[in-house]
């Protein structure tokens, strides 16, 4: 009862939060993928082997604040008006994200009663960009209606990376109440681009008291875009497709930029029915050292226009005012292309749940097997977060797990995040002998028409899962 009270107290506080993640696969004890989000998860199998490239395919994309329908509504031909309205509606905290993961190899086996070892390789693409509202307005409307208002360059922040991850994890059952786990990761970078700490403003002010109409000021501009993995492909014009593919393959197999990371997780059984979990993924760092190119634009400058030295002297060449002006701008607003190594942090993710099991448990009638009680039903709350350049993107999921048979179960979930308040998801998993398939999709209400959905995500996979009989 105390557990239930705590459970509902927790729900009442946390349902006001927002977020994003893979909530349908977290804390599903019958699926090996649960170890990827919580290496300290409770698991109910003794081994697994994923079908290469098919054990997990994960795709997700989202945009807070605007949908494809908002822009491309076919019943209204005035697309430019809708673009303008969308730009005005979005804020600089809105963002766009795309994440893809493809499990290339996944394997795991129980070493003994306490330890489960899992390992594998997956490829990941992660793209994340905040909406640079001020720059979008400047590009789409200009400065005419925004005199005296600064356009803020710090709103431009984006990251994109493609990498391969090699991992090895250990799940350790400390005692009947506590399971802990850790996963070491080796990142092999393929591409990276990031621009996250930009600053500076551009302002057109009315020049009251001055001769010119306006004073245009670029103040403390400092824009940096770091890239790795692009310069060589761009420069090698004679590269054939085969050579480029070989280069990318080499990078994905530890031949490019490297990084290391760690996942940590734990599960604690408060009592037979009530469990809490917590996990942190991708506490990781990438060292971008090879094939690096950085672009920097920085400085401050202020102008009222070109002021000629009236009058022009006869028999003399005209003074190159424009060249002088350009030289002055170039001296004060400089651009550089460098090859400085840089460091990027992987987007750290965290998940924490509390789950309450209820309903009839499956307990085999075999006194030689030590199996823990499992429940037909479970209700849980999951708080997830991903660290992004301007802060943590949070989500809150309430879920219900149902085991229809020991080999067939599903999860229904409702998630509140930055994308929407109407995110209903469903995951189903079925095992035929040892062959398991699962399919999970978030934001089902958006599936009848993706164009009107702010986000969607899909995971599916197939693998062999071996259990004690």
């Amino acid at each position: 009862m105390r557990g239930l009270i705590f459970f509902f107290f927790f729900s009442s506080i946390q349902l006001s939060l927002f977020s994003q993640n893979k909530p349908l696969l977290y804390n599903v004890d019958g699926l090996p993928q649960t170890l990827m989000s919580n290496p300290g998860a409770e698991i109910s199998f003794r081994g697994h082997f994923g079908i290469p490239f098919l054990s997990q395919v994960h795709l997700s994309a989202g945009s807070t604040g605007v949908t494809a329908f908002d822009i491309f509504d076919d019943s209204n031909p005035n697309v430019n008006l809708r673009v303008r309205n969308a730009i005005r509606k979005l804020t600089h905290r809105d963002y766009f994200s795309v994440n893809e993961q493809l499990e290339i190899l996944s394997i795991g086996w129980r070493l003994n009663r306490q330890n489960y070892l899992s390992a594998g390789v997956y490829q990941e693409t992660d793209v994340f960009a905040y909406f640079p509202k001020d720059l979008a307005i400047l590009a789409n409307e200009g400065n005419t209606n925004y005199i005296n208002q600064p356009f803020d360059f710090s709103q431009a922040a984006f990251t994109a990376e493609v990498l391969t991850v090699y991992h090895l994890g250990l799940n350790y059952k400390f005692n009947s109440k506590l399971t802990v786990g850790a996963r070491a990761k080796l990142y092999s970078g393929i591409f990276n681009v990031e621009s996250t700490n930009n600053q500076g403003t551009f302002t057109t002010t009315l020049n009251e008291g001055g001769n010119g109409f306006y004073r245009q000021t670029a103040s403390e501009i400092d824009i940096v875009v770091n890239t790795s993995g692009f310069a060589s492909l761009r420069d090698e014009e004679d590269n054939t497709v085969d050579q480029a593919a070989a280069d990318l393959l080499k990078r994905s197999m530890l031949g490019g930029n490297l990084g290391v990371g760690l996942d940590l997780g734990a599960t604690y059984k408060v009592n037979e029915q009530f469990i809490v979990t917590g996990a942190v993924q991708d506490i990781g760092i990438m060292f971008q050292r090879t094939d690096v190119e950085n672009y920097r634009y920085y400085g401050s400058y202020e102008t009222e226009g070109i002021e000629p030295l009236f009058p022009e002297q006869e028999n003399t060449e005209a003074i190159p005012y424009w060249d002088i002006f350009e030289d002055e701008v170039d001296a004060n607003l400089q651009d550089e292309t460098l090859e400085d190594p840089y460091v990027t942090w992987r987007p750290v993710k965290f998940n924490t749940t509390m789950e309450f099991g209820f309903g009839r448990a499956f307990l085999p009638c075999n006194y030689r097997l030590v199996k823990e009680a499992r429940y037909m039903n479970a209700a849980g709350l999951l708080l997830s977060g991903v660290n992004r350049p301007k802060g943590i993107a949070l989500s809150m999921t309430a879920y219900y797990d149902k085991l229809i048979t020991e080999k067939f179960g599903f999860r229904a979930a409702y998630t509140i995040d930055d994308y929407s308040f109407t995110n209903v998801g469903l995951m189903a998993h079925r095992t035929f002998g040892s062959f398991n398939i699962y399919l999970a999709a978030n934001n089902l209400l958006g599936f009848p028409n993706f164009a009107k959905a702010n986000s969607t995500s899909l995971q599916f996979g197939m693998q062999f899962i071996f259990k004690d009989n």
Partner: protein, 182 residues
């Protein structure tokens, strides 16, 4: 058992829903119609002249016409040549000379050929009563090529002499409202 079968059917139905997910009611072809249309306000040229600027530094003679030339190199840039739709030039003179002036602003091509001129009279003023003269010239779609063909701006002042003492200041400021469609 019946309950399990019902659940199975519900899940199968849901799987069916998300496997048949689609995109509708949108026309992505409209992406081709998207244009960015910024209106950029920018100062162009400004100056202030006094009576000394009309005196020849060598002969000390008074010139009734003075001029200066400014190359506006940006008019040759791609974004001007390809995407500029119209320009609204705005000129303002504030005169404390008791003489009237004629202001002529000529836009010349790279070869020095005149593309267009904006000429207007400047009313006389006094040190106690500076007089402002403003002129707006809209270069719409029908004349925008003249702007695109220009690279040099020549500003010229001609004094309309009279019997009043030739003393005072004449301020000139100009700006352009450049309308683009990218």
């Amino acid at each position: 058992m019946k309950k399990n079968a019902a659940l199975f059917h519900i899940i199968t139905l849901c799987c069916g829903v998300f496997l048949t997910g689609c995109v509708k009611d949108v026309d992505f072809g409209q992406a081709n119609d998207i244009v960015l249309s910024p209106d950029i306000q920018s100062n162009l040229v400004l100056y202030t002249v006094g009576e000394a600027d009309f005196v020849d530094p060598v002969t000390k003679d008074i010139h009734t016409v003075i001029r200066d030339t400014v190359r506006l190199e940006f008019l040759d840039d791609d974004y001007i040549q390809n995407d500029l739709n119209s320009v609204e030039f705005y000129f303002r003179n504030i005169n404390t000379f008791p003489q009237a002036f004629v202001s002529r602003v000529h836009f010349l091509s790279a070869s020095g050929r005149k593309q267009f001129s904006i000429n207007y009279p400047i009313s006389p003023g006094s040190s106690d009563n500076p007089v402002s003269t403003e002129r707006i010239e809209v270069m719409g779609a029908d004349r925008i090529e003249q702007v695109k063909n220009s690279i040099t701006m020549v500003v010229e002042l001609e004094v309309q002499t009279n019997e009043e003492a030739f003393t005072g200041d004449l301020e000139f400021a100009s700006k352009g409202l450049f309308k683009f469609e990218f």
